[in-house]
């Protein structure tokens, strides 16, 4: 998944990620557990996540 500059780091994506694959520290980033399922896209309030 690709996270844009719009991300504020609210962590909503991390909580809804079914694979525990998102780390948040000022901004979200995906780790190796990410399977590109796209769940996070819908939960982002600022439309900052897109599929690569």
């Amino acid at each position: 998944m690709k996270v844009s500059q719009q991300c504020v780091g609210c962590g909503q994506c991390a909580a809804y990620c079914p694979y525990d694959a998102i780390i948040v520290f000022g901004r979200a980033s995906m780790n190796e557990k990410c399977v590109e399922c796209g769940t996070c896209v819908r939960y982002c309030p600022v439309c900052a996540i897109a599929e690569e």
């Binding site: 719009q6 609210c10 909580a15 948040v24 520290f25 939960y43 309030p45």
Partner: protein, 409 residues
């Protein structure tokens, strides 16, 4: 009469509950897959974290939000915190919030009492900041630090960025309503109960429904366009702030357009901790005026243990964002926590930051411009249109109350 509401955050849901109770046919459209906006629960590792605000109601069971919840029949239990708040001093000892004057000399205490009484009655008309207002009368480090701690905790601003008159309105409200309280079940219990009220009054809430446009006819809103479908409405309420709302219709009112550009969103950082042992010992606010960045902390599990797995405590700290370097701000916050709880074992569950398009408040306190828009039947509610002197969700409730008065509900 039909009301279409854009956004199912606290403001949209409060307005929906009021209007549906008054007989309006209410339909709410939420872009995200869940309701509650930044006042919802976030399930994480067995904890009930929150999407935005802390699990807290600033004025507890006696405040404007609690009053409105009772009025519409929302089933929410609020546990008032006792003590309401404590302050950690530079020596590391804690004092009750109401005793903050005790550290001052007798002369200063008398002076503070007199100035406060007079200023609450005759609030400054100028734009003097709360920090400058304090400095006008006192050169006291403790008061300045406490002001920053309080403003940071409750408004996500530094005292230099809050108008003194807005802060005095807040102090007035603190005397009037007291505070603070924890909603049992967290933020999500409040927004969930409001959704129940709306559906029992026949209203409907749609998630994953993106409002693209407000359809206008001269200076009126005729309805909205949602996922390509037209919804007619007699009244349109927007819970997404003035700026975002104005982008949904052709706004020709230049004065309004200029005013909404000046509204500044506030930025903040929330750090959620888990601990086996209690770090604070009560559910009141723990103000930390001498920390580098953290403004305050609360441990909600002392009021509602169900917000954490059995045997665990849930602790949340809040800090205003001071510099442009967010990573540095977070690192300083984490360092503060280490210093505040030396030797204590805790785990950092989640670090959440809020700014720009998803801020702490769309309109930082003192920069709210009311509920009206250039369209006579379009009103803005929520954290982009709070009422005077209202801290966070209390301001949301006061703002909704003002909008409802204008509508005549």
């Amino acid at each position: 009469m039909k009301a279409a509401i854009i956004g199912a955050g606290l403001g949209g849901l409060l307005a929906g509950a009021k209007l549906s109770k008054a007989g309006y046919e209410v339909e709410i459209f939420e872009r995200l897959p869940f309701i509650g906006g930044r006042f919802a629960n976030l399930e994480y590792k067995g904890f009930k974290l929150s999407t935005g605000a802390l699990h807290m109601i600033p004025h507890g069971s006696r405040g404007p939000l609690a009053q409105m919840l009772r009025e519409v029949g929302a089933d929410v239990e609020i546990i008032d915190s006792n003590p309401m708040a404590v302050i950690m001093k530079d020596t590391g000892e804690t004092i009750e919030f109401h005793d903050f004057r005790k550290g001052l000399s007798l002369t200063k205490r008398v002076k503070l009492g007199a100035i406060l009484a007079c200023s609450l009655k005759f609030k400054p008309k100028s734009n003097i900041s709360f920090r400058d207002w304090i400095l006008k009368y006192f050169d006291e480090e403790f008061l300045l630090k406490l002001a920053d701690s309080f403003c940071g905790w409750s408004l996500s601003l530094q005292a230099k960025d809050v108008p003194a008159r807005e802060m005095l309105e807040i102090i007035d409200n603190m005397y009037r309503y007291k505070g603070s309280g924890i909603p049992v079940g967290g933020c999500g219990a409040v927004t969930g109960a409001l959704a129940d009220v709306i559906s029992s009054n026949g209203g409907r809430i749609h998630t994953l429904s993106c409002v693209e446009k407000i359809i206008t006819d001269k200076d009126r809103a005729k309805g909205i366009s949602v996922n390509g479908k037209t919804i007619d409405a007699d009244i349109v309420i927007s819970d997404i702030g003035h700026l975002e709302t104005s982008r949904m219709f052709e706004c020709r009112d230049e004065v309004y357009s200029e005013r909404i550009q000046k509204v500044i969103p506030s930025k903040g950082i929330k750090i959620c901790l888990s601990s086996d042992e209690t770090l604070i010992g009560h559910s009141g606010v723990f103000f930390t005026p001498y920390a580098e960045r953290i403004n305050g902390i609360n441990e909600v599990t002392n009021a509602d243990p169900s917000l954490a797995p059995p045997g665990k405590h849930l602790i949340m700290s809040h800090q205003a964002v001071i510099s442009d370097d967010l990573n540095k701000e977070i690192a300083l916050g984490l360092l503060d926590l280490k210093k505040l709880f030396p030797g204590k074992k805790y785990e950092v569950l989640l670090i959440q930051s809020y700014s720009n398009g998803w801020p702490v408040n769309r309109a930082s306190s003192g920069s709210d411009i009311g509920n009206r828009t250039p369209l006579c039947n379009l009103y803005v509610v929520g954290d982009g249109a709070k009422g005077k002197g209202g801290i966070e969700v209390e301001g949301v409730a006061l703002g909704v109350s003002n909008a409802m008065k204008e509508i005549g509900v």
